[in-house]
């Protein structure tokens, strides 16, 4: 497959044709947007359609459809960004949007490119995901059957399951980026998220379990075995939590399981290595490039080019193909993630991390697929090494304070470990740490690297994006655990 070759043609057909736009009109708009000398001037066209089906109470009774489109216009003069967007991008509306940016920029100079900017198409070849339409209404019956099967599977697994909600959300986003350097690039990004939430009830106690699958594919990308595994995971989590004991509180060793717990590195390392935080000297890692910030063996990578992962991009939202950026190499801080604006101001180059939630948002440096590379240890030996601590396998998101480097995340599935054995599941507990301090306490890294199941999202300055996170099993010698037990 090649998502790139067809993407630019599809993007032009879906975005420009219906609006009556051609490349000459876009070139003229860009010429005016760049005005008397913007360092960056770009237009980001987007059309997104989204379809949902929801099962509750054993039946699929809700469905939804959404379509949106628009253009974001940006001009940057030595770091001062002016931005406007519009849901209408027929030529007159596009020109109004560009004029709004010029007014905000107070750029009164004559246009440097009064004839407009000649655009060169950039196919952006990639084999990361197919340029498929995930939102086909023809798949409705198929999806409804999947949701009904999830319901019956969950009910059959345990009679204590009293509530099952299952959802599927299919999204098809097509983008076209044009900039004053003459770039015209497009991408078609299919995405489907299937999720289930169950409630278990017994003896007056209630507990929740959840699981999901995210793919850059349509219905045919979801095999029966994966769906069954997802349901089993949600039910098991709810039943474990029903019997959970209060988590201990205080500093102790923690073992994090493979996959989604890699959110640790997303929070503890990744956000602090986004270019904008460094340019503004806000990051706790400011000035530490080239220094050891983690134990030997800790290698953290951001790679937007891993096939089928939800953080992958054929091009980023500024038209740059994604890089593989080694952020931490064997414990030494080696790389930052950049968009065009911050790279330009820091005398660096974009690493293809310029991302935005939609045309109505400004791009900024964001992570793609961020993971800790494999180590040597056997995961069983890592758990066996714990005398008293926590083994956490699933989290419900996390946060970081960029300035202090303090991060936290909350378990939704975890166990108390005593003398190397899992003793009992524990109720949700918040784990906290400080970026480089936690990294220095990484003492064992497993050989079982895995990624999340496709449900990871990242929020920054009000913008939410899909990303991917991953890690092998690992041990951190000292972390603060916030449970209800003293």
């Amino acid at each position: 497959m090649n998502g790139g070759d067809v993407s630019i043609d599809l993007a032009r057909a879906r975005l420009l044709g219906p609006a009556g736009l051609d490349e000459a009109m876009i070139g003229r708009a860009l010429g005016h947007l760049a005005g008397g000398g913007a360092d960056i001037a770009d237009l980001f066209f987007e059309t997104t359609s989204l379809r949902t089906w929801r099962l509750e109470g054993g039946r699929v009774t809700h469905g939804g459809f959404m379509m949106r489109q628009g253009v974001g216009a940006r001009a940057a003069h030595r770091g001062h960004v002016s931005f406007a967007h519009s849901a209408d991008f027929r030529e007159s509306a596009l020109n109004d949007t560009v004029r709004a940016v010029r007014a905000l920029a107070r750029d009164g100079h004559a246009d440097r490119h009064p004839q407009g900017i000649a655009l060169n198409r950039h196919a952006g070849r990639h084999d990361l995901y197919p340029a498929t339409d995930a939102v086909l209404v023809e798949d409705a019956s198929g999806w409804i059957a999947v949701l009904e099967r999830i319901d019956s599977l969950a009910r059959a697994r345990d009679r204590r399951i009293v509530r099952i909600d299952a959802n599927v959300r299919m999204q098809d986003t097509t983008v076209l980026v044009a900039n004053a350097d003459g770039l015209l690039a497009g991408d078609v990004r299919p995405m489907t998220i299937l999720s289930v939430m169950v409630v278990a009830e017994s003896g007056g106690r209630r507990a929740r379990g959840q699981a999901g699958l995210g793919r850059r594919a349509g219905l045919n990308g979801f095999d029966t075995a994966s769906v069954d595994q997802m349901v089993a995971a949600a039910v098991t989590m709810a039943l474990n939590n029903l019997d959970a004991i209060p988590a201990p509180a205080g500093e102790m060793p923690v073992v994090l399981g493979p996959g989604y717990p890699g959110v640790l590195f997303h929070e503890a390392v990744g956000h602090g290595l986004e270019g904008d935080h460094h340019r503004k000297r806000l990051s706790a890692f400011d000035g530490k490039l080239g220094q050891r910030i983690a134990a030997p063996g800790v290698t953290v990578v951001d790679d937007g080019g891993i096939a089928a992962r939800l953080g992958s991009l054929g091009i980023d939202d500024e038209g740059t193909p994604p890089d593989r950026t080694v952020l931490v190499d064997d414990g030494v801080l080696t790389g930052l993630m950049q968009d065009r604006l911050n790279a330009g101001l820091m005398n660096a180059r974009s690493t293809g991390n310029g991302r935005r939630q939609s045309y109505a948002h400004l791009p900024m440096p964001r992570m793609t697929n961020t993971f800790l590379a494999n180590g040597q240890a056997d995961p069983a030996d890592i758990i066996a090494s714990i005398d008293h601590g926590i083994y956490a396998t699933e989290f419900d998101g996390g946060q970081v304070d960029i300035v202090t480097g303090r991060f936290n995340f909350t378990t939704i599935e975890a166990w108390l470990v005593e003398k190397g054995k899992l003793v009992a599941p524990v109720r949700g507990a918040t784990l906290i740490g400080v970026g480089d301090e936690a990294l220095r306490h990484v003492s064992m890294i497993g050989n079982d690297l895995a990624f999340d199941t496709g449900m990871a999202t990242c929020g920054k300055q009000g913008q939410t994006l899909h990303v991917s996170v991953g890690q092998p099993t690992l041990r951190i010698d000292r972390m603060m655990v916030g449970g209800q037990a003293g």
């Binding site: 089906w53 509750e56 699929v60 009774t61 809700h62 469905g63 939804g64 459809f65 379509m67 489109q69 770091g79 001062h80 960004v81 002016s82 931005f83 406007a84 519009s86 849901a87 209408d88 905000l104 209404v137 409705a140 019956s141 409804i144 509530r163 409630v199 106690r205 209630r206 507990a207 929740r208 939590n241 209060p246 988590a247 509180a249 205080g250 500093e251 102790m252 806000l282 109505a360 998101g397 996390g398 304070d401 960029i402 202090t404 303090r406 936290n408 909350t410 939704i412 109720r427 949700g428 507990a429 918040t430 906290i432 400080v434 603060m480 655990v481 916030g482 449970g483 037990a485 003293g486």
Partner: protein, 449 residues
């Protein structure tokens, strides 16, 4: 018309009515909601404009009801072709889903065809130039503040203006619209000493510019919060009383209100099952709702089904008096809508217990923890299990001793609500919620061993 808006209320009413009409021609009953907002935002840092944004959002959402089935579709365009597509898509969904006896429009007699509609819009200057002046004024104050304290650095100073219009039409002939405004300012300040750095922010949000906190107050509060957190350190794990500062206390009130929504109740995702008439919080607590407060941030004459809310008690003496119900969630629970299809309106937590201002609350705390900021954590809505990483202050004999960081608090919400000893007179508003600081008798703090 406002300079931020490109569509009028009548444009939106026409679009909503057209969508309902087109659905009716397909034999469906329908409800259409149309919104449009114009936004301007200027961020200034160190004397330079960092970002200047001008944006417009809009959307039309349609829900159709046909043969006991429902389907929803939305678009960002208001032209006839887009609306026809939305009707088509909604009807396609109706053709696939199973019936649900509870999915239908509310009875027409429930609708607020007329009736009080609180002011949600105030004329105020909101052009980008006005915002630029406001952000630059804050930036100038921030620079002066920094000059007087070497530990401080100025972050972004931001001014935002939003104006919006919203229209709702239904097959029962309901067609009303409202105009809204919102002004916000915020200041980010950083503090640094040999022990590390902190950032803090302070925001003011109102429906009219002249009600906003003065720029100097915003900057000073942000600077004080950043300074106050310097020297923060962890403390040993313990059980202790905890005082939630007003802007963190509002989060607890939000958790309580969230558990009383119809959706949480019928989906069994509430830690307060079957709560009507039951004691769920300390007996000195009252919680009231007011949809009609003029220029209230969460005021409204009717919800997105066209049903008006009411001024009422949600909690009286700790006992639940009412839930927040839509027509759908109400039917699932065998009750009528309370006009809360969009959640709760303005809420106010009050207490009959002994209370006082911030200093008095510190004295009531005695020795314990003050929570000034949540850094992250989760509530399990089904069990009420509550866990948070927090920043705060350690207090002894009513006096602040040092800043605290790297600690967690954990409990479960039913115990926390019943353990509230006092609510301060230091009332602040955070969005829909007004509350003073909240003092809870005993919580588990996780820190050093």
């Amino acid at each position: 018309m406002s300079e931020l808006l490109t569509h009028s209320e009548s444009d939106l009413r026409d679009a909503a009515a057209l969508a309902v009409d087109l659905a009716a021609r397909r034999g469906a009953r329908a409800r259409a909601s149309v919104h449009h907002e114009g936004i301007a935002k200027i961020a200034v840092r160190n004397g330079e404009v960092e970002t200047a944004e001008r944006s417009g959002t809009q959307g039309l959402g349609l829900t159709v009801f046909h043969d006991g089935r429902q389907g929803s579709a939305s678009t960002a365009r208001f032209d006839r072709a887009a609306i026809e597509r939305v009707v088509e898509e909604a009807m396609l969904i109706v053709g696939h889903v199973q019936p649900d006896a509870d999915a239908d429009l509310p009875p027409a007699q429930w609708l607020a065809f007329s009736g009080p509609a609180p002011d949600l819009y105030a004329e105020s200057p909101r052009s980008p130039d006005v915002l630029l002046d406001a952000a630059q004024a804050m930036d100038a104050i921030a620079s002066e503040t920094v000059a007087s304290d070497r530990r401080l650095r100025a972050g972004e100073q931001v001014a935002v203006a939003t104006e919006g219009v919203w229209a709702l039409a239904t097959s029962d002939g309901f067609c009303r619209s409202t105009q809204r405004s919102n002004d916000a300012r915020w200041s980010v300040m950083l503090a640094q000493d040999e022990g590390g750095s902190n950032s803090a922010f302070c925001q003011s949000q109102e429906r009219r510019i002249d009600a906003l906190l003065p720029a100097a107050v915003l900057v000073e509060r942000a600077a004080n919060r950043a300074r106050q957190a310097l020297g923060g350190r962890t403390i040993e794990s313990r059980r202790c009383p905890v005082l939630f500062a007003p802007h963190t206390a509002a989060t607890l009130v939000g958790e309580l209100a969230g558990a009383l929504t119809g959706n949480a109740q019928y989906r069994k995702m509430s830690f307060l099952p079957d709560p009507l008439g039951r004691v769920v919080a300390a007996s000195h607590l009252d919680l009231s709702e007011d949809p009609f407060e003029p220029l209230g941030l969460a005021s409204g004459g009717f919800d997105s089904e066209g049903i008006a809310g009411s001024r009422r008690a949600i909690l009286r003496h700790g006992v639940v008096q009412g839930l927040f119900l839509s027509t759908f969630s109400g039917r699932k629970l065998g009750m009528p809508s309370t006009g809360n299809a969009d959640g709760f309106y303005n809420l106010r937590l009050t207490s009959s217990a002994a209370s006082g201002d911030w200093q008095a609350m510190l004295r009531m705390l005695g020795s314990g923890l003050v929570v000034t900021e949540f850094q992250g954590g989760k509530t399990d809505p089904a069990s009420g299990n509550w866990t948070q990483a927090i920043k705060g202050l350690w207090v002894e004999d009513g006096c602040v001793v040092h800043a605290v960081t790297d600690v967690t608090l954990a409990s479960n919400l039913p115990a926390m609500l019943n353990g509230i000893r006092a609510v301060g007179l230091d009332v602040e508003r955070l969005g829909a919620i007004r509350t003073g600081s909240i003092l809870i008798d005993d919580m588990q703090l996780g820190g050093r061993r």
